[in-house]
Symmetry: C2
Subunit: 467 residues, 2 copies
């Protein structure tokens, strides 16, 4: 098979198709059936009572008895980015690289993605739409002794020529220590639906985009893999001026864009030399400002997040019952792109941002990535503009939808994903770590791994719903 | 200025020009003058006697009194790559990101690079051709109290639109702990030669390529920056079948190549998940198998390298006199690309390789990267094919020239850089971590930082001399 070479064209076809192998109403029906028929029990429990997990007597680090999955450690952070130059915090250390993968198959010449309805212990829903495969290495090497995940072999044994996407991409740098997963999309030969378990369904990209406009339904792993897909020239599918502007912005990779690609590469390399990030893992028991009780690990002031625990029973998963820690954010945040017309072309304001767990000092982030409740005083740069635009609504808000973070690590963690266009944004004075980029430039740079952080990638996936 | 956008065309012009502002004989004359007029004294000295450098009493780590420049520490290495799964070694820890930069200016519409004749304490020569700017952060923030390097401001204050290249690229993963430098090329407006100190000269790319065929003359920093330059379609400049094949190989990015770009991305991501690399800095005094004497730090069996010291006096540098440690390799190595025609198109055999100091587990390396003296038994994969081809000579050897490693860290360290085409190479059975790539694909992937290691990048720069 050498289909991969023209895959962008097929994907454009797929994005335009809201009816596919199953019409959208049938997809929604399948989804409702998954939600109604889900068998699960997810109970909060004291952190101190976890089976199979324990606190290291010397360090207080919280780990699994096998040493696998993940460990919660302490991190000492020093950086010249932002106003706080030194702090300590708990962080998830998960050095293993897992796989987030979609299979793609053509039905009637239209590529479909194999989507899974999946429950994770931290999920709102709790059924969310996940990639075909979502597996940590502990998971697929069966550290837990369960059965292999569905479709694992299709990814491990695939012909490299059938691989559309294969990138190591980061996850939340504020919560994970340099964690990355392998985002991958693999084409499988045309065939029928036979052999697809009931929790799976073949969907067009257009159908996934439609569902992406609903809160907390398309999970984070799906969003990040979608953001990595190559994109053919957009057809404006909606009779909406913004859809036309988006298509023009996608076309502006060099001509029409505010900056050249060379200047954007310079922007990234310069940020990596402007900023320093020095982190050191320390014993969790010694992290300043954080306390452990039987119930959780938290700050006295309640800010940022807590480490909590759940007792889980889920039908039809690899393992029927387990317990595990999860991170519960203190309150929901806002991840927002500010956009504006520059030289008549729609641009997005991108932030070069340092986070404690960032793999390579800096990644490109949304214009604003904030949890307003964490700020006693002034909001971060451009935070006010975003809140104002959201308050005004109308044309100023192009996208505004709650999306969930990974339910395997985060407990009921949803952020508001937002694209706003405040009047006068084009004239904003930019600090050195902000730059305007066209959608075409964003998609161009998305070919590189570890350039955009997971919050930006989620927003990039959401932008596709606006075409 | 928006010249950067068509810079590849200009560079093709520059590569074709062996006569520029100064004809090649005049360039050679200037070079001889620099070599003959060089004022320097470089003496080996005992490691124990170094001024300004000392061994930490607790760890034995060797560092500068300011804590800057670099530190020699111990490293414990575990990996599933190669036959040795666990070892310890000294390593250079230099977390600061320096700048390796060329200025480019057009004379008579032909871009010229501003080349510097520079002495480094470890240089063979000792004058070598270096980029316009070659500065560590300690260097340009003047940790040593000297004056700022020439042309520093042209890089720090440039307009991002004038930046042609700006990439953080790795250096020797066997010697440095995740070290990277910023490889950058900046266009300056047309002007005259006024104000260029005598140690600098404007040269065309074609002139640099001619000098790259001479041993130990074009330094490592120059070679790595050259490898990052965008490349326009090659014109075969030599009446040589290999030059035509090289031009065709450059054109084969998708069509004509053995693998698709998607498959090559998969090759890289797969290697990063196949291999594990777990390193831990340890006290230099505790590194197993290595001993410190007054003279040096070395292994009892004399293999790999030694840490030695030099006492240096160089005229017309920022600081006239200093002492420093250097790494002296036990013997010279061979870095070789094996090439072959596949589907009628010239391809290069690329190795995904783990080295202890690699920034992100794996980088792409030459087919063979070996120091034959370090192997008691069998040579590494394809080592015999390279040595056989070199022994046969003739058409089997397309490039064979000694090139020096960085003289600021390595003492008289030269490796043989080689491109060979052994008969039957196209039919070789490849281990999972090898893949054939066209020159076009190599240059395409060179847009990404940290994909090719410094040895591969040197060879990529050398390939340009064969057009």
């Amino acid at each position: 098979m050498r289909v991969a070479r023209s895959v962008a064209d097929g994907l454009a076809e797929s994005a335009a198709a809201t009816d596919g192998l199953h019409p959208l109403p049938a997809v929604r029906q399948w989804l409702r059936r998954q939600q109604d028929g889900a068998r699960y029990r997810i109970d909060r429990m004291p952190l101190a009572g976890l089976n199979d997990w324990s606190f290291d007597p010397a360090t207080g680090d919280l780990g699994h008895r096998t040493g696998r999955f993940f460990t919660i450690r302490g991190l000492d952070v020093r950086t010249n980015f932002g106003s706080t130059r030194h702090w300590q915090q708990p962080i998830i250390d998960q050095p293993e690289i897992g796989i987030l993968g979609f299979l793609i198959r053509e039905f009637d010449d239209v590529p479909h993605l194999l989507v899974q309805a999946k429950i994770e212990p931290g999920n709102l829903g709790p059924v969310q739409l996940s990639p075909t495969l979502q597996a940590t290495r502990s998971n697929f090497t069966r550290a837990h002794g369960g059965r292999a995940p569905d479709f694992l072999d299709a990814f491990l044994d695939c012909d490299p020529e059938d691989v559309v996407v294969d990138q190591l991409q980061s996850e939340q740098g504020s919560r994970f220590l340099r964690k990355r997963n392998r985002n991958t999309v693999v084409i499988v030969p045309p065939g029928d639906e036979a052999g697809v378990p009931d929790a799976f369904i073949w969907m067009t990209l257009g159908q996934l985009h439609a569902l992406l406009a609903e809160p907390n339904l398309v999970n984070m792993d799906t969003r990040t893999v979608l953001s990595c897909l190559p994109q053919a020239p957009l057809r404006a599918l909606r009779a909406d001026p913004f859809a036309y502007r988006l298509a023009a912005s996608l076309a502006a990779v060099e001509a029409g864009a505010q900056h050249s690609l060379g200047a954007l590469r310079n922007f990234i390399a310069r940020a990596k030399t402007d900023y320093e990030l020095v982190t050191r893992t320390i014993p969790l028991a010694q992290v300043q400002g954080w306390q452990r009780s039987d119930a959780d690990i938290a700050r006295a002031d309640g800010r940022y997040f807590r480490v909590v625990a759940v007792d889980v029973e889920i039908g039809e998963r690899e393992v029927a019952r387990w317990q595990q820690p999860l991170i519960a954010s203190a309150s929901g945040g806002i991840n927002a792109f500010v956009c504006a017309s520059l030289r008549g072309v729609l641009h997005f304001l991108v932030q070069a941002r340092v986070e404690p767990g960032t793999f390579d000092i800096v990644e490109l982030a949304p214009t604003v990535q904030m949890t307003p409740a964490n700020y006693a005083g002034a909001l971060p740069q451009f935070g006010d503009q975003v809140l104002d635009a959201l308050a005004c609504g109308g044309d100023r808000v192009q996208f505004d939808c709650a999306q969930s973070e990974e339910g395997g690590r985060f407990y009921h963690d949803a952020n508001r994903y937002v694209v706003v266009e405040p009047p006068g944004a084009a004239a904003l004075a930019l600090p050195r770590n902000f730059a305007w980029m066209s959608l075409g430039q964003i998609k161009y740079l998305m070919q590189y791994a570890n350039v955009f952080n997971v919050e930006a990638r989620s927003l990039i996936a959401c932008l596709a719903t606006l075409q």
